[in-house]
Amino acid sequence: MSTAPSIEHETGHGHHAEPYQGGVMRWLTTTNHKDIGTMYLTFALIMFFIGGAMILAVRAELFQPGLQLMQPEFFNQLIGVHALVMIFAALMPAATGFANWQIPLMIGAPDMALPRINNWGFWLLPPAAALLTLPFILALFGIGDGAVNTGWTLYAPLSVQGGMGVDFAIFSIHILGVSSILGSINIIVTIFNLRAPGMTMMKLPLFAWGWLITAFLLIATIPVLAGAVTMLLTDRHFGTSFFNAAGGGDPILFQHLFWFFGHPEVYILLLPIWGLIPHVLGTFSRKPIYGYKAQVYSFIAIGVLSVVVWAHHFFTAGMPVPALLYFMYSTMFISLPLAVLFFCWVATMWRGAMTFETPMLFAQGFIVLFGLAGLTGLVLADVAADAQYHHSYFVVAHFHYALFAGGIMGVMTGVYYWLPKWTGHMFSETLGKWHFWLTVISFNLTFMPQFFLGLAGMPRRIPDYALQFAEFNAISTVGAFILGFSQLIFAYNIWKCVKGGTKATDKVWEGADGLEWDLSSPPPHHSWEIQPVIK
């Protein structure tokens, strides 16, 4: 303790004075970055299954044309809450869990800079998730008409007219937003102030760089979303007319405000993944990461560009031609820094001594499938083509290639890569490979047909459809159920790994490189109390 007095004073929190508590109080009151990271990741996994169950109900309804299982109102609630749960309660908390576990280990810091805010940031999440899903349960008892049924985009005027589920969603988004902002501030302060001596910004691990850009995007755009849903709330209950044309407002304004947040949100979800993928590729190719600087500059370029392209989400809402052209070209321009990242990923593997452990398989699956998301995104960015593809299943397929193959499979890459470090045990390679192949095959089985459905003109967010779409929908539903149930292997493998297994070495992977691999597996409850010096 005497060797690192400043940290103790800085955080106002005496690590060693605190007795190690077990039980519920440990988790409620913990300020330890590893505990909080574990809670974030566990919460994300639980919500991943809840959001997945919702969409399996949707896919079951879409298995055949006609209405078999549910009414359109309930269908609409499921698709909207599925998206909100997956984005805000699964993908974002998983990335924050990674940040909590890994950033202090990777930059040689003893903990996050603001441990109490860290605890608060996590414990805001369960009430927010409860608020979002509570209307489903209330409706069972005849209270209200169910959860938010506008889709996750909450477009006005539908959301102005909607039932009380919209209010629950608004308050849930407020709380989730506060949680994200607290988490982001913590990460920025940690990276700026707690790096090990000698670790300059250009020696920062790429994962930390990716998260740093994400954190800045979050604090710049989440408040705009908070403002937009606040306007929605006052329009609904307090007689304002932000989005009400009769009172001089404009419903299209909501789309601008929403997507000013919503487009950077895509990169908020993906930048932490782009940060961790190079570490995995380098490890299993036994080579240093190729093009570190190029990747850092690409992260920054993508972060900046992401806030100036939002209107490509609603080209068809009506815009003057110069605005259409601007948003089209600026959107397409993002593919340049993104292509730099792709080339760096491939070049990292180039002529490497590659082995194909589960994390490497997921990383490579990520590159291929996320590449498809990028290519189909270029098609959607084309104003002329977008008139055809807009609001069709093509869009659904595109963003699931981006957010499932890009986001969720990226998270799985990270979990498999770091799990032995966190638990001290190796997971089952066999189960990991089964999980990978089942996921990749069933993912494509689910979403590849949706590209064709979209091209054939099937609109999204519709519980019933014309007969000519029946075959592709049936295939997609079969794929979705295999995909959903394959994730039980993932959960079981994690559970087994936490409980026991082959002891992991400190370095875990032969080619691993970075500060976190110098610590024991699992790392001690308090690590890097004496900071390493980077030469």
Binding site: A4, I185, I188, T221, A228, M231, N244, I252
Partner: protein
């Protein structure tokens, strides 16, 4: 434990001011929140300047595109004809019926014309409504000038009352030559209980 490139550092951690950085970042958050609200008036200005979204506000900038009367231009461009189509809808929550008495007009840009809409209150109570105009294509909006319009003020209809609502307008000669047809659409909203 410590490998090449990493040595033990026994010096205390450098004191850095976390609080100052947190305060700065919170200011960014506050600024972003304020920016969200600042986008509301900015958006109106942008729409008025570009005709984006079919808003017909020009000259005097009205709230949400409901503009005040503007001065008549002097020149008439007799070399071309523009077709103006009229349509109207009644939004949910307003028990009115509405249809244009003039459905379409062929005119030379710069000419002064009048069109009429028929509005009927089919309920048994007096209701106040507000019409909100929209012009498409959007580029035509800034050249569509309303000299007098029932949309400039709220309209009250007695139970069962039928009313003819007039509109006086000019399509300005500056309108782009590629535009042959302009559609003016009104949406009537129930504004009872507002304001």
């Amino acid at each position: 434990m410590m490998e090449n490139g990493i040595a033990r550092n026994d010096a205390p951690l450098p004191m850095r001011n976390n609080r100052a950085l947190v305060v700065k970042l919170l200011l960014v958050v506050a600024a972003a929140f304020a920016f969200g609200f600042a986008l509301v008036p900015l958006y109106d200005v942008l729409c008025a300047a570009t005709g984006f979204n079919g808003k017909t506000s020009q000259g005097k900038l009205g709230v949400g595109g409901i503009s005040g009367p503007a001065a008549a231009p002097s020149r008439i461009d007799a070399t071309r004809i523009v077709t103006v189509e009229f349509t109207g809808t009644v939004m949910p929550g307003l028990p009115w019926e509405m249809r244009p008495l003039t459905t379409s007009l062929d005119l030379h840009p710069g000419e002064l014309h009048q069109a009429k809409f028929l509005v009927h209150n089919s309920s048994d109570r007096a209701i106040v409504g507000q019409a909100v105009p929209s012009v498409s294509p959007g580029q035509a909006a800034q050249h569509f000038e309303k000299l007098d319009c029932f949309c400039f003020s709220q309209q009250t209809l007695a139970p069962g009352e039928t009313k003819e609502l007039p509109l006086t307008f000019i399509v300005k000669p500056e309108i782009d030559e590629s535009i042959r047809t302009v559609t003016l659409s009104y949406a009537f909203f129930n504004v009872d209980g507002q304001k």
